[in-house]
């Protein structure tokens, strides 16, 4: 059985949906981060698969950008989460409402 591009795209869609539902339903900030990562990487998969199919290197370049941005976002986000958890060890994402001005 040949693995066609459709497979990759279906995988990408499934992962993205899982990430989205996870993001919307879970309250643990760490899990939410993981979900975001899942969504980003789902997009990366589609990028790579399209890049291969269209024989265009630009798609893979975009993946690198996504990776770098994701890393930066995790740094900022995690530091906020760590600061929050230090104050309230049982904190959930909803407790970020405290940051509201």
């Amino acid at each position: 059985m040949e693995v066609t591009q459709t497979w990759y795209l279906v995988l990408s869609a499934v992962l993205f949906t899982i990430g989205t539902i996870g993001l919307l339903t879970r309250r643990n900030p760490l899990v939410m981060f993981m979900c975001i990562e899942l969504m980003l990487n789902a997009v990366n998969i589609s990028f790579v698969s399209f890049s291969k199919a269209l024989n265009d290197i630009a798609g893979q370049t975009a993946v690198f950008f996504v990776l770098v941005v994701a890393a930066a976002e995790v740094v900022v986000g995690l530091s906020i989460v760590v600061a929050l958890l230090r104050r309230r060890p049982t904190a959930t994402a909803d407790d970020l409402v405290q940051l509201k001005g």
Binding site: L24, M32, A93, D94, L96, V97, K100
Partner: protein
């Protein structure tokens, strides 16, 4: 040398800025010297530019010096630039020349004032604004100076702002001038709309349709009536005398009030293209103002008010000259008027200074011996303004009358009547101030009244005392009355009991048991009766006494009231200080009540009127020289002696009216004018110096039409006018502000509402993003499907 033009306004500006920074620290008198030096420097620059201009050919005397472009806006451009030509430099010469003298004078006049340096800050700012006004190369710069001098005028009129009168005089001047300013702005818009430029260089060479030119002339006439105090906007100038006298001299006689004249002369090509009736309007406004103000000046008693109305009147002369096309006479008379009116104002300031702030001419007189320099220079100013040859005013006034004759004999007649009145009231002023008996030491009416009102106060106290006594007597009488009634009752009951006892005794048989008792009671009652009678008699006597006392009290009250009446009558018959005085009017005899006069009277006897310091007399002497010789500027004899006319010729573009009258007519007119002036002086001397006629017959209140107009205007503006403005203000607050505030309210409500979306819950934001992207995807899908 013409390039030095920018220095002319730069000097006063520098002086202003310097004094703003250091004026308070420099204090008196250094701040004053700095300010004087600044204007003096400006005068020297003007002379330099003047010489440079003189070196050019007459037709090349037109330079524009641009400092920078102020308003670049597409094809429309306004420069901060100076227009140097004979007209503007003539203005600058006398503004800075007379200005320097007045600055110098102020150093002496403002001596000891708490805000000494502030005064000079304002003066320098004024000089700067005035120079911008005349030097500007476009209407906007002129307007800048126009507003600047208005603001300085406001600041300086209400310089002693702690008095309410001064403060409101300043406001009156400012507000009245604003009415004129709107004419200036609209005029500028009309010019811009017609030719798309407001530079004089363009305006002076452009063709206007006669409708546009007429509209512009009328609008600029409105502007000029405000600044130059003409009918209907002259009312602020007499009130402006509330300011320090150097201000009256500099701003309200010599310079600022001439800016309307300058503007109209500057715009002479527009005047030439306008319908003739619009320039006739200028002439009539001027002629009527001249006449009305001169009439009002005859009845004034305040030394500065006379000069104020005189200024309004002379400015009317200038308008008359412009209206009949005599631009050169207008400028000529403006310059000579600046000389002699500044001289007269400064002289009156010197008098006020020497008499310890006394401004009422009825309390002056005979000051020649106390202040000879002031008197001598003032007399020169008087001869100049009265039109006595060969003083400056004669030449310039005569030119105006000639041009008026050229236009219409009616205008000439009005001008001549004004000239007669001018000679009359100025003679009156000089005689009342400097000649005759020194009335300064005479008792004032308030002082006499104060002395007499003391008697009334004493008599009134007597009445109060008598009234008190009467009240007491009434009480006593009532009491005695009561007593008598009581005693009468007692007597009646005693009589009754006696009768009863007698009956009892008669009824009982002598042998009965109680008989002895009854006889005893009868005996007792018999004895009580005389007692009661005597008590009644006593109290009746008391009542008679009290009644007597009451009658006496009433009598004494009548006497006290008589005393009051006598005192009041004596106040009514108290000597009155004369309302209308001449040099011969005797002083009020105060020997009967001298000891009752208030202290102010005694203090005044010890005060010595004195001549002013040299800083004040030196400018007087210089101005007197100019007022005497100012006619040399433009002698009428030969064409070569028309210095001013030849000099101004290139700026007038041939718009000067040509006088058709022959030499003989000119001479006859001049002779008539001179004879009238001298006749008026003689009449005035007869009345005021020799006492040949009652001044009350001349100083009729009906003459003060100008004052009545002022009052009527105030009544209208204070009543219905004020109401209208209140309503407009209400409309503004309710609807205009309401619209603005409504927009703000809607915005803030929207903000408050949308705030509720910002919950701070991360997941609801995420949901928003997801829902949004889903909606976008659905939109594209639907587009795909539908296509």
């Amino acid at each position: 040398m013409v390039e030095a033009a920018w220095l002319i306004p730069a000097f006063p500006l520098a002086g202003f800025l310097f004094l703003m920074a250091f004026g308070r620290r420099l204090g008196e008198p250094v701040a004053g010297w700095v300010a004087t030096a600044a204007v003096g420097g400006s005068f020297l620059s003007t002379v330099t530019v003047f010489l440079g201009l003189l070196a050019e050919e007459p037709d090349d005397r037109f330079f524009i010096q641009t400092i920078f472009t102020w308003v670049p806006s597409g094809s429309f451009r306004v420069d901060l630039g100076f227009l140097v030509d004979p007209l503007s430099i003539t203005m600058c010469l006398f503004i800075t020349g007379v200005g320097t003298l007045i600055h110098l004078y102020s150093v002496g006049y403002m001596h000891g004032d708490a805000n000494f340096s502030k005064f000079f800050i304002y003066l320098n700012l004024f000089a700067f604004s005035m120079l911008m006004l005349v030097l500007g190369d476009n209407l906007l710069i002129t307007f800048l100076g126009w507003e600047g001098v208005g603001a300085c005028s406001y600041l300086l009129i209400s310089f002693w702002f702690t008095s309410k009168e001064n403060a409101s005089a300043g406001k009156k001047a400012f507000v009245t001038n604003r009415v004129g300013d709107f004419g200036f702005m609209l005029g500028t818009f009309v010019v811009f709309g017609a030719i798309g430029s407001i530079r004089y260089a363009d305006i002076l060479t452009s063709e206007f349709s006669s409708g546009i030119a007429t509209a512009a002339v009328l609008l600029f006439l409105v502007a000029a009536t405000g600044k130059s105090a003409q009918i209907p906007l002259f009312v602020w100038l007499p009130d402006a005398m509330a300011g320090p006298t150097p201000v009256s001299a500099l701003i309200h006689a010599a310079t600022m009030v001439t800016s309307g004249v300058y503007l109209l002369v500057r715009l002479n090509p527009i005047l030439a293209q306008a319908d003739p009736w619009s320039t006739a309007a200028i002439a009539w406004v001027g002629a009527l103002t001249a006449l009305v103000a001169a009439l009002a000046a005859v009845v004034q008693t305040d030394i500065k008010k006379v000069l104020a109305y005189s200024t309004v009147s002379q400015l009317g002369y200038l308008f008359l000259a412009i209206g009949v096309g005599g631009y050169v006479p207008a400028i000529f008379h403006m310059v000579t008027h600046a000389f002699f009116k500044a001289l007269l104002f400064l002289g009156s300031g010197s008098v006020i200074h020497g008499l310890h702030d006394e401004q009422d001419m009825r309390r002056m007189g005979g000051l020649t011996k106390f202040m000879p320099i002031t008197a001598g220079t003032f007399i020169v100013g008087w001869l100049a303004i009265a039109g006595v040859p060969p003083f400056a005013g004669f030449w310039s006034k005569d030119e105006i009358l000639l041009y008026a004759w050229n236009e219409s004999p009616v205008l000439w007649a009005i001008g001549l009547v004004t000239a007669i009145l001018t000679a009359f009231y100025m003679t009156r002023q000089v005689v009342l101030t400097f000649f005759g008996r020194t009335r300064f030491f005479d008792p004032h009416q308030e002082e006499i009244d104060a002395a007499f009102s003391q008697a009334i106060v004493g008599a009134e106290a007597g009445v109060a005392e008598a009234q008190e006594a009467l009240a007491k007597a009434e009480q006593d009488m009532a009491k005695a009355d009561d007593d008598v009634a009581k005693k009468q009752l007692a007597l009646a009951s005693a009589t009754e009991s006696l009768t009863e006892a007698k009956a009892n005794v008669a009824a009982s048989s002598p042998d009965a048991d109680g008989h002895a008792k009854l006889v005893k009671a009868l005996d007792k009652a018999d004895k009580a009766l005389p007692k009661a009678v005597s008590a009644l008699e006593k109290s009746q006597a008391k009542l008679a006494e009290a009644t007597q006392a009451h009658a006496e009290a009433i009598e004494s009250i009548d006497l006290a009231r008589d005393d009051v009446r006598t005192a009041a009558a004596s106040v009514a018959s108290a000597p009155r200080a004369p309302q209308h005085v001449t040099a011969l009017t005797p002083a009020v005899d105060v020997s009967d009540f001298a000891d009752q006069l208030p202290d102010s009277y005694a203090h005044r006897q010890e005060y010595h009127p004195h001549e002013s310091p040299w800083t004040m007399t030196a400018p007087l002497v210089a101005l007197a020289g100019l007022a005497a010789a100012g006619g040399l500027l433009n002698l009428p004899f030969t064409k070569d002696l028309h210095f001013l006319a030849n000099w101004l010729e290139p700026t007038l573009f041939g718009n000067e009216v040509h006088v058709t009258a022959g030499a003989s007519t000119k001479i006859v007119l001049a002779l008539i004018a001179t004879a009238c002036a001298i006749g008026a002086i003689a009449v005035s001397l007869g009345v005021y110096l020799k006492g040949k006629a009652d001044p009350a017959a001349i100083e009729r209140p009906e003459l003060a039409l100008a004052v009545d107009y002022d009052r009527a205007l105030a009544a209208v503006m204070g009543g219905p006018g004020n109401e209208t403005f209140e309503r407009a203000s209400w409309f503004d607050r309710t609807y205009v502000d309401g619209a603005v505030n409504g927009v703000a309210l809607v915005t803030s409500r929207l903000g408050r509402y949308s705030q509720s979306f910002q919950t701070g819950f991360v997941r609801s934001y995420a949901f928003g993003i997801v829902a949004g992207s889903a909606a976008v995807v659905l939109w594209f899908l639907s587009r795909l499907v539908l296509s």
